[in-house]
Every structure is written in C-alpha cells, then in structure tokens.
C-alpha cells in the first residue's frame, strides 16, 4: 500500500468524525488567535504604565479584564479541542481495530497460516497505537503550529513590518537547521535500531535458551559475543542521542538571534519615534520568544506522522487483504446430513511450484472411517484443511452428499463436522463456556452429560470452581490430555454427523490417553470419521487408509491391501519389527 492510498484510507476512517474534526480545527484557530492576541494586550497595558504619575489606571484595568477574558476563553477552547481530538482519534482507532478483527474472520486461512501470529497481532494492536499517537500529536501540534507561525508573521507585519522582515529573514535559517539535524538524526537512529535489533536477537537466543547455554558451558563465549554487540550499541546510541539532542539548543540559538534582532530594531524604532512603543516592543519580544517553538514541534510531528503512516499501512494491508471467496447463499444441505463425502480428482498445493496432492479420489459413505497416517509433519492437516474448506482445491472437487462444497455455505458445511485437533485451543473463559463453544445456548444438563460422555467430568469437578473455573487462552493449569478431553466434550455436545479427529502422539500420560480413546470411540459410533491415526487398532478398523509422506498422499487402501502392496506403508510398519 503506497502512501497516497494510506492517507486516503485514513481519511475514509476520518469521515464519520468530520464534525469533531471541524470543531477541533475551529477551536484550534480560536486558541491560536487568542494566544497571539494576549501579548498585544499585555503590550498595550505596558504602554499605559509609562512612569511616575503617568499611569492610566482605568485603561490598564480595562485591558486587564480583556486579558483575563481572553485567557479564560483560550483555556476553554484548548480543552474543547483536546476533547474533540480524543474522541476523534480514539473513535477512529476503535473503528480500525473493529474492522481489522472482523477481517480476521473472513480472511482465507492461507493468509493467516503464512504469517506469524505475533506479526498479525501487532498490526491490530501496536501499529494502531502508533497511528493513534501520531494522529493525536498531528492534530494538536501540526495545525496549531502552522497557524501560530502564520498568525505571528501576519500580526507582526500588521503591527510593524520592519521588524517582521527581520523575523522572516531568519526563518529559513531556522528551517534549515531543523531539517539538517532531523535528517542526520534519522540515519543515526536507523543505525541504532539495526544494532539494537542485533542485540535483541542475541539476548533472545542466549537468555531464551539459557538452559542450553549452561548445558554446554557456553557462558563465557556468550558473554564475549554480548560485550561486542553491546559496545557497538553504545557508540551507535551515543551518536543517535547526541545528534537528536542538538535540535533544541540549535533552534534555541536561532531563536536568540531572532530575539536580539527584534530587540535591536524595535528599540531603535522606539528611539526614532515613529509611533513604535515600548509596549509594542514587549509584545514583539514575546512573539520572538515563542517563534521557533512551532518549528521544533512541526519537525517532531512530521517524523511521528511518517512513522504513524508506515504503521497504518501495515494495518490497512490487513484490512484490505483479499477475502475468502464469496459464500454460497444457498443451503442445499439439510440440518444434519447422512455423511457421504467424496473427493473427486483433487489437486492441491500451498505454493504453485510445489504440488502436494495430486489426483486424489476417494469415496466415503455414511459411517465409514478413514485413517490418515504418515510421519510427523507429513501434511496430514492438508486433508483436514480441504474437508473443512479452510482451503479450496486447485482443481477437482470435494463433495458432501454429492454436492460440491463450494456450493454449500461454509456455515452449514462446518455445522455438520466435529473437529478435535491435537493442538488444542481453549478460549479465555470458564470451563463451561469452553465446552459450549459450538452450542452457546446448551443447558447445564447437556453440558454435564457431554462432559461425562467424554470422561472430562471427573477432572472438571476436581477443579477449584468446577465448571465455573476460569481458564486462560493457553489453558494454563490443565494438562495437555485434559485440554483435549475438553475439546472432545465440545464436539460431544454438538454431535455432528461427520468427524475429524487428531489422535494424540506422545505428550499424554497413559491413563488419560485411554480415556481419550474411549471418548473417541464413543464419538465415532455411527458417524463418518476422518482420523489422523497413531494407533494400530484405529488403522486396522479403518475402511480406508491414506498414507501420506512429504505432504503427498502416496498410498491408499485398507490395512491388508497396503501390506500386500509392500510399499511405504509396509516399510513403515516393518521398521517397527525389523530389529
């Protein structure tokens, strides 16, 4: 997404809040105008205080009342402006986050699977935060800064153009100094962040895997590597920080030149007596004093805004990403199907140049069991992805009850499947909420009987608050096996006609595993099941075995057929008994 598109998108999110924006800008103008007006009033007051016995008290009083009034109005306007900006910014980022999250539910899994979760999360959270900071600063400082500079110049020109000329002559120096330092600083900060990234990576490795460091007595070597990058970071940081800290003194110096110039020309003007008063000089001096401040701020805001836009682009890239293909409106499937599934000449690949499934044809009738076997990481989930329509085949078709799944709405297709993955996912919430994921309106009795049927009830009752025990996203406090039992209970509650099950490999203790097996068997009764299998009994009883290797289905048949074929399956099977 290029910058122009990003800005356009930001503006489109701004649209609902244009009222606030308008109000904010108006209030900003009021603030700037009054802030600039106060020094004039102060100057006028000074002009009424000329010397002993030469003070015009009624006039001074009148002016003081005006000052008080202006200051109060300014303060109110300032506050109102801040409130508008808050509303505007926080509202906008709320909308952006809402859309981003909404997008997650319609993104193709291909998109999500190919990106680290941390990266996507940061697009929704920290990138949007940076955008908010940038916008807030942008609204408050960019506009007021520009308005202040222009206003100051206008008033000076109007009051006494000769002094204004002095100021205008110095302005380019101010701009030049600011941009020169900003540019140098930027490249130094970049170098700093490169070295810092390097250091963080090293820390991640050496501290993150500290146990290995100790196991291999690598401590001294680690310290040496760290010292080296630490030294480089020190010198990079010193340069970056020092250069960036030059901004203030330098512009302040330019400011003091402006100040001296205004003082000189102003004082001479008063002496030459062409209507220029001490009060005016005082007003001018206070303008001069504040003159370069907006320049500093604007240069800060510009970097901040650039940063904000870069982050916004990342978020918008997510929001604008291509969605899943349009869902079919028609729901040709009945509420529950008998469970006939067929794959017809299916070709599939994640990357165009690396074809995985080639010409897979398979017909499963209601109640049959299909076992998928193969070494770890052989791509057994690919088949699940196709069945659940997480991915669509490149060519060929997957059919349920003779209907191409692409003609069925995802909702009704998935409603007919129950899925238990080995990688359990629990949401933060209570045990009850986690079981009722598929059927939020389930009654207490239904939930408990589902938990009992999946052998989860007894351990749930041992939890501190039974079904009301809160569990975190990672399911902390529960063992892997217990988590899987909960996931089985989830499916048990819905009792869909077709199942996709992922048998546990190793990380579960024997007893829990027995329970899971029993729960699985109970679940499979009379249902069409696809099982990622690790157990002999599962495979023996399967109506068909798909043997996968390196992401491809290489063999297909029953246990005895495959043994007779003496291929990879037989080899796998034999290697167990070869010694």
């Amino acid at each position: 997404m290029n910058r122009k598109q990003t800005i356009k998108t930001v503006l489109s999110y701004l649209r609902p809040y244009w009222g606030y924006l308008f109000l904010s800008l108006s209030l900003a103008l009021v603030t700037v105008a009054l802030t600039l007006y106060v020094p004039i009033l102060t100057g006028q007051a000074v002009d009424q205080i000329l010397g002993v016995g030469d003070v015009n008290f009624p006039e001074v009083f009148k002016i003081l009342v005006s000052i008080a009034a202006s200051v109060s109005v300014t303060a109110l306007a300032q506050w109102g402006m801040s409130l508008c900006n808050n509303r505007l910014t926080f509202g906008m980022i709320r909308d952006i986050r809402r859309d981003a999250f909404k997008k997650i539910s319609v993104l193709p899994l291909r998109y999500i699977d190919s990106r680290p979760v941390g990266d996507l999360v940061s697009r929704v959270i920290s990138d949007v935060d940076t955008l908010a900071d940038g916008l807030l600063m942008g609204f408050t400082q960019l506009f007021t800064g520009c308005a202040t500079i222009l206003g100051t110049l206008a008033i000076m020109l109007f009051l006494y153009y000769r002094i204004a000329l002095v100021v205008i002559l110095v302005t380019p120096i101010s701009l030049f100094v600011a941009s020169f330092i900003a540019k140098r600083t930027y490249s130094m900060f970049q170098r700093q962040s490169t070295v810092r990234g390097e250091q963080t990576a090293l820390i991640d490795e050496m501290i993150g895997e500290q146990k290995l460091v100790l196991a291999f007595a690598y401590e001294e070597r680690a310290k040496k590597r760290f010292s080296d990058v630490n030294e480089r970071l020190r010198s990079a940081s010193l340069q970056a920080i020092f250069y960036s800290s030059l901004m203030n003194p330098s512009t302040r110096f330019v400011n003091s030149l402006v100040y001296a110039g205004v003082g000189l020309v102003g004082a001479l003007a008063v002496i030459s007596g062409c209507g220029f008063t001490v009060g005016l000089l005082s007003s001018f001096l206070s303008y001069a004093n504040q003159y370069t401040k907006p320049f500093n701020e604007i240069s800060g805001v510009v970097t901040e805004l650039q940063n904000a836009l870069a982050c916004a682009a990342r978020t918008f890239e997510l929001i604008r990403a291509e969605e899943e293909s349009q869902d079919s409106d028609a729901d040709p499937l009945p509420e529950t199907v008998p469970g006939n599934v067929s794959l017809d000449h299916v070709y599939f690949s994640y990357h165009p140049d690396q074809s995985l499934i080639e010409d897979l044809t398979l017909s499963v009738s209601s109640g049959q069991r299909i076992a998928i076997v193969g070494p770890t990481g052989c791509g057994k989930t690919t088949v699940i992805n196709l069945l659940m329509r997480f991915y669509d085949p490149v060519s060929g078709s997957v059919k349920v009850e003779q209907i191409d799944v692409r003609e069925i709405s995802r909702y009704s297709l998935r409603k007919n499947y129950g899925m238990v993955l080995q990688e359990t996912w629990l949401k933060s919430g209570t045990v009850r909420e986690n079981i009722a994921v598929g059927k939020p309106n389930a009654t207490e009795d239904e939930i408990i009987s589902a938990a009992k049927a999946s052998h989860a009830h007894s351990f749930i009752m041992r939890l501190p608050n039974g079904y009301d025990t809160p569990i975190g996203e990672a399911g902390d406090g529960l063992s892997q096996g217990q988590k899987q039992l909960l996931c089985i209970a989830r499916v048990m509650l819905c009792r869909p006609p077709m199942l996709i099950l992922d048998e546990a490999t190793s990380s579960i203790d024997t007893r829990t595993e027995h329970k899971i097996q029993r729960a699985f068997s109970k679940l499979m009764e009379g249902r069409t099941s696809f099982i990622v299998a690790h157990r002999l009994s599962t495979v023996r009883e399967a109506d068909c075995i798909l043997v996968m290797r390196d992401g491809k289905v290489i063999e297909q048949g029953t246990h005895s057929q495959l043994l007779a074929r003496n291929g990879f399956y037989a080899q796998l099977y034999q290697s167990q008994f070869a010694h």
Partner: protein
C-alpha cells in the same frame, strides 16, 4: 536499587558536568529579560542608540555561550546515560548467565528478556533526561523567582504564590491520571488477548461457526478500551489549559501591582516587562518538568525491576573438582528427592540406582512422572533437595560445573539451533573442534547426508531457532552437537520424536558404534527405543517403580507392562 548507581561511576565526570553546563545555560537565559529591561530603561529612555547596539551584541553573545554550554551538556549527559545503560546491560547479562536452572524457572525467560531490553532502555532515558533537566527546570523556576525578588520583592510575592499553585495543579492531575493509565493498559491487554485468540483459534472458531460471537466479544473489549481512553484523555487534557490560565493570571496580577508601583516610582516600565518575561519562562519549564517526572517515574520502576533481578543469586555454589574417582560406576543416585520451587509435591522422591560405564539406560514413564527431572540432576542443572547424585564416586556438587558438564553431552527435548552456520552450532559442543570431528559427529547422528547436500555444507546459514531446517533435521543436528564433545555420558531426552521410524532405527544402530565406554541415557515415548537397553528405569509420579531390563520388567512391573502394551500396540501400525 542504589547499587545500580555504581554503573554511573565511570561517568562521574560527565554526570557532574552535564547538569552544571545546563545550569550555565539557564543562567544565561535568565539574564535575557534583564538585558531587555536595561534596553528599555536606559537605551530607549535616553535615546542612546549605541547602548541599544551594545546590548543587542550582548544578547547574541549570551546566545552563543548558551549554545556552547547546551551542546556540551547534551554530549556529557548522552555519554553518561549510554555508558550507564551499556554497563548495566553487560552486568545484567553476566548475572543472568550465572543463574542456575532453578532461578531461570523462577524468573522466566520472557521476563529476563524484557529486563535486559525494555527496562534498561527506560533507565537510559531516565538518566539522560535527569542529567539534562532535573536541576535545570527547578533552577530556572527558582532563578526566575530570585530575579523577580532582585527587581521588586513585592511583585515577587506573586511568583511565590503562582509557582506552588502550578506544581500543585500538575501534581494533582498526574496523581489522578497515572493510575488510570494502568487501567487503559489492562483494557488494551484484553483487546490484545482477544486478537491473539481469534488468530490462534481460527480453525476451531470457523469449525464451530463462532465468528460472530468472537466479533461481539472483541467489540465489547474494544468499546471498553475506547471509553477508558476518553476518560483518561479528558483529565490529562486539563494540564495545558489550567497551567496557561494560572500563569496568565499571574501576569495580570503583575501588571496590576506593577502599575501601582510604577505610578509611585518604585518600578520602571522596563522592569515590569522583565517581570512579565520571567513569568512566561516559568510556564515553558514547567511543561518540561512534568514530562520529566513521568520519565523518571517510568525509569525508577524499570530500575526497581532490574535490581530485583540483580538481587537473585544463584542457589548453587560451584565446586572445584575436575576429576572423579577411578571407578567403573559412572553414576549413582542415593535416595534422591527434589521438589521444584512452586510445587507442593516433590518431582522425584527417594530415587536410588547405579549405572556402570558403557551401559545404555532407558527411562520410561508418563508425562509428569519425573523423567526429565531425573536427567537434569546428572549435569547438576538442579540440586537435589535430599540425597546425593554421585558422578564417578564424587558428589556432583563438588565438581566445577563447567568441567562436569563438559563430560556430558545432552540433547534436549526441544531441538533448538542458533543463528549462525551449522559449524557455529556444532561448535557449541566443543569450541576448537576440527572439521573432521564435526563430520564424524554428523555421521553418527545420521545428519551427514543432508548437510552434504546443502550448498554451503558446514557453512550453511542457520536462521533464528533453526527454522530453515525441518524438525527431523534439527533434531539430528542437536544430537550431532552433543556428540562433538565426545562425551562420557550421552543423554537423549526424547530427542528422536520428529524422526520417522526408519531414521530412528538407523540412528539407534549408529549410536551403537560409539566407543564402548560411553554411557547413554535415553528418555523416549517409543517402546522400541528403550526396549533393548541394559537398564530401564520406570517412573511414575516421581517414584522409581521399576529397575531392570525389558524381560524382567515385563514380568515384574505392572506400570511398565501397562505402558508397553498400550504403546506397543499403538506403534505397531505406523
């Protein structure tokens, strides 16, 4: 926390000079309104153009000297701050490296990493800003007040009233908002959690058609966050308007008092202008000071967390021995029990067994039965709570840990590689290993073939966590890494789970080619992996429920039989 200041010591000169130069700059700034007052009262009053010229020259000089002072101060403070943080980071890294497994578990790696990065950076910013501003801001404020007193004590009383009022206002607003920022953070965390959940659970959510419920839960958390942000924003937005009002009311008061006192001849017009200028200076400094307070608060919090980590000392004291006794009994557990920091139940209780040099020892048991704990006691990653672990007849606590660990090659459950090359990774095992030795280790680990196929062989780059290698390749490389040091004891902690059965079988037979003196410990979930071990230890719930070879255990040990039956049946197929 005071201890952290010692890292500033090498930069004592900079740390003292930076604020001094900052104060010099401030003094010069404070002189400016005075010069203007002279211009008005002497130059303009008497129409003395040369005097005005001279004073303008002085203003420019003040500016130049101010610039030099400021740049010097910035340089010194940057140098001190950066040097300080580099020192802290280095010391913290060394400190963390000195901790044992027990402390690592207690602190947690994620925490250790944030301490080293985020918290130290907070401290660096804190030191930098403190050196620059902590003295300067109050100094300018006080200086402005003192200058006001030298001009006119009565008018100066207005300063005495305004300054505390300003500080009080800022303090009150911060007191109200700072805790509420935490509330915002909590709500942001909730939004983050929902987002993460939506992504990690994307398959389940879609499988159960839960998208809309997830969306509404997210929206709720999101709305809540927005509401809170607006509330906090409303309060903190008061700072600028309020301080602006207070300072300008001070100016109004100054003009009123000034008018009276000029009228009776105590003050001059120029002096009134100077007083107004001083009041304006206070406002600028106050804003800086408020920001400084926030920075310092954050830095102090970071410093507290870092010094908490420094407080934690390793629970192990290193021994000095480098040699064991001359015995064939390489390892002996004597009534060993261990309980982890946070657990109520011991992880191992009363374990005793003995291993002779050259034996292959299999360890079986369910999850949480204590297999890894037992393994971890051998290289003294943890200390036993009770009992002793003897390596060649000597308590492991008496050895120099580095020497002890050099005799042991361990292959952890999680196959972790580090960024660098294959060669770098293998050299973890032995710093000065020759290519010959590396290839030999790769050969035994069944990794030679795929490494030879890589375009750069040993110099093939390894990405972070070794993600450019498959799980099986990673595992074989970690086995090779342990073999490079030609260990006396080789420990495989469930480290062939990602290998297919054929590869595992060849790995097993090639491990048999190791010198006979090598003692091997194998923890495995696969029955076949330990079936032919000389000695099998069966653990259940931290207790040793069976010791012997396969045939003995099958007839005597119920737990072993149960595990074997269920798993053997399972393995038969795949």
């Amino acid at each position: 926390m005071k201890k952290l200041l010692t890292y500033l010591k090498p930069y004592r000169k900079e740390a003292v000079l930076a604020p001094l130069f900052k104060m010099l700059e401030a003094i010069l700034e404070l002189l400016v309104p005075l010069v203007i007052a002279y211009v008005i009262d002497n130059g303009i009053e008497k129409g003395d153009k040369n005097y005005v010229l001279l004073m303008s020259g002085i203003l420019v000089c003040l500016g130049i000297v101010g610039l030099i002072a400021a740049v010097t101060a910035q340089y010194f403070s940057a140098k001190a701050a950066v040097g300080f943080s580099a020192g802290v980071r280095k010391a913290l890294f060394s400190h963390l490296q000195s901790l044992s497994y027990k402390e690592c578990d207690r602190i947690g790696t994620a925490t250790m990493i944030t301490r080293m990065t985020g918290d130290v950076n907070l401290m660096q910013t804190g030191v930098n800003m403190t050196l620059r501003l902590l003295l300067r801001s109050p100094f300018v404020v006080l200086g402005a007040m003192i200058m006001a007193f030298t001009i006119d004590p009565v008018s100066a009383l207005i300063f005495v009233a305004v300054i505390p009022l300003l500080y009080l206002t800022v303090w009150l607003i911060m007191r109200v908002t700072l805790p509420r920022y935490k509330g915002v953070q909590n709500r942001l965390d909730r939004v983050l959690r929902k987002t993460r959940e939506g992504l990690t659970g994307v398959r389940v959510i879609r499988a159960f058609n839960r998208q809309e419920d997830e969306q509404s839960e997210f929206n709720e958390a999101n709305e809540e966050l927005t509401k809170f942000q607006c509330i906090v924003g409303r309060i903190s937005a008061l700072t600028n308007p309020l301080t602006y009002v207070i300072v300008n009311m001070g100016i109004v008061a100054l003009i009123s008092v000034g008018a009276v006192r000029v009228n009776v001849g105590i003050l001059t017009q120029g002096m009134v202008v100077a007083l107004i200028n001083y009041m304006a200076q206070i406002l600028t400094e106050l804003v800086k000071f408020a920001n400084l307070v926030v920075t310092i608060t954050k830095a102090l919090a970071g410093a507290r967390r870092v010094s908490d980590v420094f407080e934690i000392q390793s629970s192990q004291t290193a021994g000095k021995r480098t040699q064991g006794e001359d015995t064939k009994e390489i390892l002996r557990f004597e009534n060993v029990s261990i309980r982890y920091y946070s657990d109520a139940q011991p992880a191992l209780s009363d374990i005793s067994f003995s291993v002779t040099e050259g034996q292959t020892v299999g360890i079986r048991g369910g999850t949480g039965s204590g297999k890894s704990t037992l393994i971890n006691l051998i290289p003294r990653f943890y200390d036993a709570t009770q009992g002793r672990v003897l390596f060649r007849g000597i308590d492991v606590r008496e050895y120099d840990p580095a020497v002890l660990r050099e005799k042991i090659g361990i292959v952890p459950q999680k196959a972790v590689l580090f960024r660098g090359t294959i060669r770098d990774n293998l050299k973890w095992g032995k710093e000065d290993a020759t290519d010959e030795e590396l290839w030999q280790a790769l050969r035994v680990a069944q990794a030679e073939d795929f490494v030879r196929e890589k375009s750069f062989a040993l110099d093939e780059p390894v990405e972070q966590a070794g993600r450019n290698f498959s799980g099986g390749q990673r595992q074989r490389l970690t086995i090779a890494r342990a073999l490079v040091r030609c260990p006396e004891v080789l420990i495989l902690d469930d480290s062939s789970s990602a290998l297919d059965y054929a590869t595992e079988a060849s790995l097993r037979s090639s491990l048999n080619t190791l010198p006979e003196s090598v003692t091997t410990f194998i923890v495995s979930q696969r029955a076949s992996s330990v079936r032919y071990a000389d000695l099998i230890l069966v653990l259940e719930d931290g207790e040793l429920v069976g010791v012997g070879n396969h045939d003995e255990l099958i007839s005597d040990c119920d737990v072993y039989r149960e595990i074997f039956d269920s798993q053997f049946e399972r393995e038969e197929d795949v």
